[in-house]
């Protein structure tokens, strides 16, 4: 239940941020060794914010061909952000927990 409440709060934040003129921001929550979404679609130049609501560390990275990146260790309670500046479909994973998978489609 708490996860949901947190996710709602994040969504609200997103809406507020989305109203700003420059760039939109999408929030992905990490909780119980899972991403709260499996797929997202964003526009080129938008930022994805990865919030770690777990009691353990995560490590967001992508090994997608042509778009490899590593955001490093994200400790509990911290946030890691990534600007997707290239169009395409990318697989984002936690390097530590292979069951955590997210597809980001950048238009």
């Amino acid at each position: 239940m708490k996860t949901k409440i947190l996710a709602c709060a994040m969504a609200t934040l997103f809406v507020v941020a989305g109203a700003a003129p420059v760039t939109a921001e999408v929030v992905i929550n990490q909780k119980a060794k899972k991403f709260d979404k499996k797929k997202i679609e964003i526009k080129k130049g938008e930022t994805v914010k990865f919030v770690n609501s777990d009691s353990i560390s995560h490590n967001i990275h992508s090994r997608s061909a042509g778009y490899k990146f590593d955001l490093g260790v994200s400790k509990p309670g911290t946030t890691a952000s990534k600007v997707f500046d290239k169009a395409g479909k990318f697989k984002v994973r936690c390097a530590i927990h292979p069951k955590m998978k997210l597809t980001v489609k950048v238009n």
Binding site: K34, S57, N59, D70, I96, K101
Partner: protein
């Protein structure tokens, strides 16, 4: 559930004794709040079904064929090592050695991992280099230092055995014996290898006398002070993650597969703790001789370096607490019934001739023979036949 491939499922009762638990999907952990023992128990409820991928759904015939292949030493280059040689059912599907031994007594670099409960895994091997069990099944078979089987020769070898032709045709109508189908059959069998109901499961289901008081204290420590749950979570006592747990050897493990990610240096797959007591010695390097040594390692025996997992820190456990943790881990072992070895299909008895002897598997270093053509490098084959550069 994290895996996206769980399409076809079979009830676990079809292959293993079902537990007394109801099927309960564990709720999301609430990190800030301390959970009670009863709440923690719910996190370890056995699943009622085994997941199978839609690309390779379960059939009983395929699983049976896979079991036969698994125990057939003719799947190795020299025809004397089967998958079951190292993944020995008598050692909870390990080999009881610190480091595995392969073709011509080659000592391997790491300890043989168990094949228990792999249907529930993700990214297989200590370094996670195989994404699926189908790919994994062929890795050790084709590796020159392991089973040393020439994958181009194996199909012809099995075709000399009429019963295999029949069995493959039943499981793979119209396709028969192919390398891919060998992999699919073995993987299907492996997915049915699930650890049985252990005293811990009986305790979880309500039998308060199923485990000792010391083991119960160990369970509390496991989930709290000792922080084992950070990685050994869920009914299978692993979340399939990779961590540098500070073993002092030079092996960089997952670091070779995922270069550039700091915490993947010296990181290895978190193994299941189910039936672990039968699988000594421990860790990827087989350097720790019993579970007490393992607890001591996590308490204060690890080396510290930039890649060390955030979940590893000094625990300050008392000797009673260490014993409690070991007592708890002992309750995760099921007393499974002895395994019947399959009768292996006989060679053709109708024509005279000599047996084809499999040529050596391994292309010597630098050789381009026995490599996947450049254009096909992303195919299924690349995982067991090296790609042309």
């Amino acid at each position: 559930m994290g895996t996206h491939k769980k399409i076809s499922k079979i009830a676990m009762s079809m292959v293993v004794v079902i537990s007394g638990f109801a099927t309960v999907v564990s709720t999301a952990a609430i990190s800030a709040e301390k959970k009670s023992r009863a709440e923690w128990k719910k996190e370890y409820v056995r699943p009622s079904e085994i997941p199978f991928p839609k690309e390779n759904p379960y059939t009983a015939a395929k699983a049976d064929l896979g079991r036969t292949l698994f125990f057939d030493p003719r799947l190795s280059g020299a025809n004397y090592i089967s998958c079951g040689t190292c993944h020995n059912p008598s050692f909870a599907r390990g080999d009881g050695l610190a480091k595995g031994i392969g073709h011509a007594m080659t000592k391997l670099g790491r300890r043989t991992p168990t094949i228990l409960n792999l249907a529930f895994g993700e990214d297989l091997m200590w370094d996670g280099r195989f994404e699926t069990l189908e790919q994994q099944a062929l890795g050790p078979m084709s590796a020159p230092v392991e089973m040393n089987q020439n994958m181009k020769a194996i199909v012809a070898e099995l075709q000399q055995i009429p019963e295999y032709q029949t069995l493959f045709n039943v499981s793979f109508p119209g396709k028969g014996i192919t390398v891919e189908n060998i992999a699919k059959a073995i993987a299907t069998f492996e997915r049915t290898v699930v650890s049985g109901v252990a005293p811990f499961d009986r305790w979880g289901a309500g039998d308060d006398h199923a485990i000792s008081t010391s083991a119960k204290r160990g369970f509390d420590l496991f989930n709290n002070k000792a922080n084992c749950v950070a990685c050994h979570s869920g009914w299978n006592f692993t979340d399939s993650s990779f961590h540098d747990i500070g073993m002092p050897d030079k092996d960089i493990g997952r670091g070779k597969v995922v270069p550039g990610v700091v915490v993947m240096q010296h990181a290895f797959k978190v193994p299941t703790l189910r039936n672990a007591v039968e699988r000594a010695p421990y860790m990827h390097d087989g350097s720790l001789k019993n579970l007490y040594s393992v607890v001591e390692h996590y308490d204060n025996g690890f080396v510290t370096r930039p890649s060390k997992s955030e979940e590893i820190y000094k625990l300050k456990l008392t000797s009673v607490e260490k014993t409690d943790l070991v007592e708890f881990m002992k309750t995760l072992s099921s007393k499974d019934a002895p395994i019947a070895f399959p009768r292996l299909p006989a060679y053709d008895q109708t024509v005279a001739g000599s047996l084809n002897v499999s040529p050596a598997a391994g292309p010597s270093a630098g050789s381009t023979a026995n490599r996947v053509p450049k254009g096909a490098c992303n195919s299924f084959l690349m995982h067991y036949i090296p790609c042309s550069k």
